[in-house]
């Protein structure tokens, strides 16, 4: 396997980690927004407690992905950012508001009206950012970003709107949002020992799990006309059908585990399910970074750069893996004493 392919794979790994960890943070924001009923306040608190210690680390995965993209595949980066300027800009503003609102709410002071207002900003931004992130990925996958070069230079709509403001990318956006909410709710069932609170999130996990299925179906329908390459990758090729079947089985197992209150199993299945979808996408668009014509090899930086980045990744992993393991053991281990003690 070439260095470029390994690095493209690493990029998907970073995205995968961002989706599973950062994604769950966004999902937590969704449940903050939708907190209802007699335990609404406890729900919000559980979300804040679960995200607090890890959100900084979780969101660095996105930075790693973007840095790998512009270092190892500069031509792809330059090509993606221009037509997708608007959704990316929107996503950035979402990230800014969400990150800062979370910190302001946590550290800003007493539980008062100001805090509630930050809570709302945090929750709204959690809704918008995954939508736009998914839309961006969908636009790349659909081949519309790659195809934009054929549009007339002066045609603003064709160059800067059409690639992403279309049914398929938008449906991927909705799908992403549903996945994040599903992941968050599933994780949160394991973040508390309080029975009724846990049950709240079990029901939310079930509902969002069903929403994930519905959004996936809508995405497939939209992919029909809009993303022939994607459709072929998802349905047409030899490995596709078993892959789709496996994803479906995992998805159903996750829902079943939630119904039977097997929370640890549900979490594992949810993680696997979302990862399978992501890798299915990556695989379906291989060997292109920007379909329909820019391949991994064509977009790749010179070999020296790739080798150095690989070396840096290995060295970095030696520091990072134990540190991450430590972070999650301290805060997500079985010994869960009351958190947020600094407040």
């Amino acid at each position: 396997m070439s260095a470029a392919t390994v690095l493209a794979g690493t990029l998907v790994v970073a995205l995968n980690a961002y989706v599973l960890l950062g994604g769950a943070d966004f999902g937590g924001g969704v449940w903050d927004l939708l907190a209802r009923g007699p335990r609404a306040e406890s729900q919000r608190q559980l979300v804040a407690q679960a995200i607090g210690p890890v959100w900084e680390a979780n969101h660095v995965w996105l930075i790693l992905a973007i840095v790998l993209l512009f270092t190892c595949f500069p031509a792809a980066f330059a090509r993606i950012v221009v037509p997708l300027n608007l959704p990316l800009t929107g996503m950035l503003i979402g990230i800014v508001l969400r990150g800062s609102a979370f910190a302001f709410r946590g550290y800003g002071g007493d539980r008062d009206a100001v805090q509630r207002r930050w809570g709302r900003v945090f929750a709204m931004a959690s809704l918008v950012t995954p939508l736009l992130l998914g839309t961006t990925l969908g636009a790349v996958a659909s081949g519309a970003v790659g195809g934009v070069a054929t549009a007339a230079p002066g045609d603003f709509a064709a160059r800067y709107l059409a690639p992403w403001l279309a049914p398929f990318p938008l449906s991927v956006g909705v799908f992403t949002l549903a996945c994040f909410a599903f992941l968050a709710a599933t994780y949160l069932t394991l973040e508390t020992t309080d029975g009724p609170l846990r049950d709240d999130f079990r029901r939310r996990a079930l509902a969002s799990g069903v929403a994930v299925g519905a959004a996936a179906l809508a995405g497939l329908l939209a992919a029909g006309p809009a993303a022939p390459l994607m459709r072929h990758g998802l349905l047409g090729s030899g490995w596709a059908l078993p892959f789709q079947l496996a994803t479906g089985v995992v998805a159903l197992t996750a829902l079943g585990a939630l119904v039977w209150r097997r929370y640890a199993l549900a979490r594992r299945c949810a993680v696997l399910q979302v990862s399978l979808v992501l890798w299915g996408w990556a695989w379906s668009q291989y060997p292109y970074v920007v379909p329909p014509d820019l391949t991994i090899e064509a977009a790749a930086a010179p070999t020296v750069t790739l080798r150095l980045v690989l070396a840096a990744l290995v060295l970095g992993a030696l520091v990072l893996v134990p540190s991450l393991f430590y972070l999650f053991r301290v805060f997500k281990g079985s010994d869960r004493r009351s958190a947020v003690s600094h407040q």
């Binding site: 900084e56 500069p74 950035l92 969400r98 840096a312 805060f331």
Partner: protein, 443 residues
């Protein structure tokens, strides 16, 4: 406003915003760790209170630093896609390494902020030290990338495209040592003086709690040595600029004519059309002496630079003078600190010293903003000095002023909120001698 101007404005605004939080993210952890270490050694709970309060304030600033940094990573492409296509493979390396530094920083920050009661004393202190070290390291890496833009190397240019790329050589470009040293010192000097200034102000206003005296001492411990060293490292930076970026040096010093015995012009208004500086105070020989350490050295003036490659002269020259003025003042206060410390005088007793520290509070940040203005505006019209013009690197997408406007609103809003939140923190700091909350109750 043209698209190019809007893009430059947006980049400048984002960086000017980010750098404040980045600098705090470099220096604040050092102070927190010193305070915690003193608490662990002396058992004096005031130090614990201090460490916890500083950590709280830092958490807010860190979050803003992280999100504004994320914005920058994308903006490099959103605003300058051609630059990134050209430079990604060459200077992506320091950005990748910076990514790992961010990770380490974020992980241990989580442990530090939320782990007071979950990890051992040693592990907690270690986490703080890791945050401090990786913060400094991220600054080092990213400034390396910037240094390459000023003194590009590590590739050969063939038909306008880079070939034979050597990323390690690019990281070790001529400007890198000077810029890295000067920027890292700047972080400690600016943050140390700002924090010292705030506590000195509160002491002057009658809050004489041990809390503020301890805080003042630690902040000066971090800020004063850096401030004393800063003019020396600045001189080293100027020597580097003189050798590798003559147009920038000429703009900084408002030197229109190539000459021996070149003077330094203090202040004044460089008039590009008349090719002279109005109202400035010239110091004969000084520039030749400072830039090349020889009063007879010839210094390149703007007349040796094609007119269309002149940077904005008043902005670069006056920014440079403001930075040097701030640096001189801070170095003097730094020496005064050392003198008082040697005589074991309580800093809080000298009203005049406290006042001098209060005046110094904003100067480090002003020097950082003006210093970066010198570096970045002084490089114009090049985004990569001598290789790629900024105008050729900008995004082809029309309507940039609108997007810049939206970002400006977001930043103004964030700036207001951060200011309000931090001043609340400060207002709630202890009033009287001995007033503090018990560690068990949390700070």
């Amino acid at each position: 406003m043209s698209d190019l101007l809007a893009a430059r404005f947006q980049m400048a605004m984002s960086l000017a915003f980010h750098i404040i939080f980045a600098v705090v993210g470099i220096a604040m952890p050092v102070m927190m760790v010193v305070a915690e270490h003193r608490w662990r050694r002396t058992g004096d709970p005031v130090y614990l209170d201090l460490a916890k309060r500083w950590a709280r304030g830092t958490a807010i600033l860190f979050a803003v630093g992280a999100v504004s940094g994320t914005v920058l990573s994308f903006e490099l492409g959103l605003l300058w896609p051609t630059f990134m296509r050209f430079a990604g493979a060459i200077i992506g390396m320091p950005f990748s390494l910076e990514g790992f530094a961010f990770f380490t920083e974020a992980i241990f920050l989580g442990v530090y902020l939320y782990g007071w009661e979950r990890v051992s004393a040693r592990a907690h202190l270690f986490a703080g030290a890791m945050v401090a070290a990786s913060g400094a390291l991220s600054g080092v890496f990213v400034v390396t990338a910037n240094a390459w833009m000023n003194t590009p190397t590590g590739f050969d240019l063939v038909n306008g495209a880079p070939v034979n790329v050597r990323p390690v050589a690019a990281m070790l470009s001529a400007a890198a040592p000077a810029q890295v040293l000067h920027m890292t010192l700047a972080a400690y000097a600016a943050t140390g003086f700002a924090v010292a200034g705030i506590h000195a102000f509160l002491i002057l206003r009658g809050r004489r709690a041990a809390f503020h005296r301890h805080a003042l001492t630690i902040a000066l411990l971090v800020g004063a040595p850096a401030a004393v060293l800063q003019p020396i490292s600045g001189d080293y930076a100027a020597a580097m600029v003189a050798r590798h970026q003559p147009a920038k040096l000429a703009a900084m010093e408002s030197l229109f004519h190539t000459q021996r015995h070149a003077p330094i012009v203090l202040g004044g208004w460089p008039d590009a059309s008349q090719r002279r500086t109005r109202f400035g105070v010239p110091l004969p020989y000084a520039l030749s002496l400072l830039a090349f350490h020889d009063p007879n050295a010839t210094v390149t003036g703007l007349d040796s630079v094609p007119r269309d490659q002149w940077p904005n002269l008043p902005a670069v020259h006056l920014s440079f003078d403001v930075m040097v003025a701030c640096g001189t003042y801070m170095a003097i206060v730094g020496l005064w600190t050392a003198w008082l410390a040697r005589r074991r005088t309580d800093f809080a007793r000298s009203q005049r010293f406290l006042l001098a520290v209060v005046i110094g509070a904003p100067l480090g940040f002003i020097a950082i903003e003006t210093g970066w203005t010198v570096t970045e505006l002084g490089r114009q019209p090049w985004i990569i000095y001598g290789v790629l013009r900024t105008a050729d690197a900008v995004t082809p997408m029309p309507g940039q002023p609108w997007r810049t406007g939206v970002f400006a609103l977001v930043y103004v809003f964030l700036a207001i909120v951060v200011t309000v939140l931090l001043s609340r923190q400060i207002v709630r700091s202890p009033m009287h001698t001995g007033e503090f909350r018990t560690p068990g109750g949390g700070a």
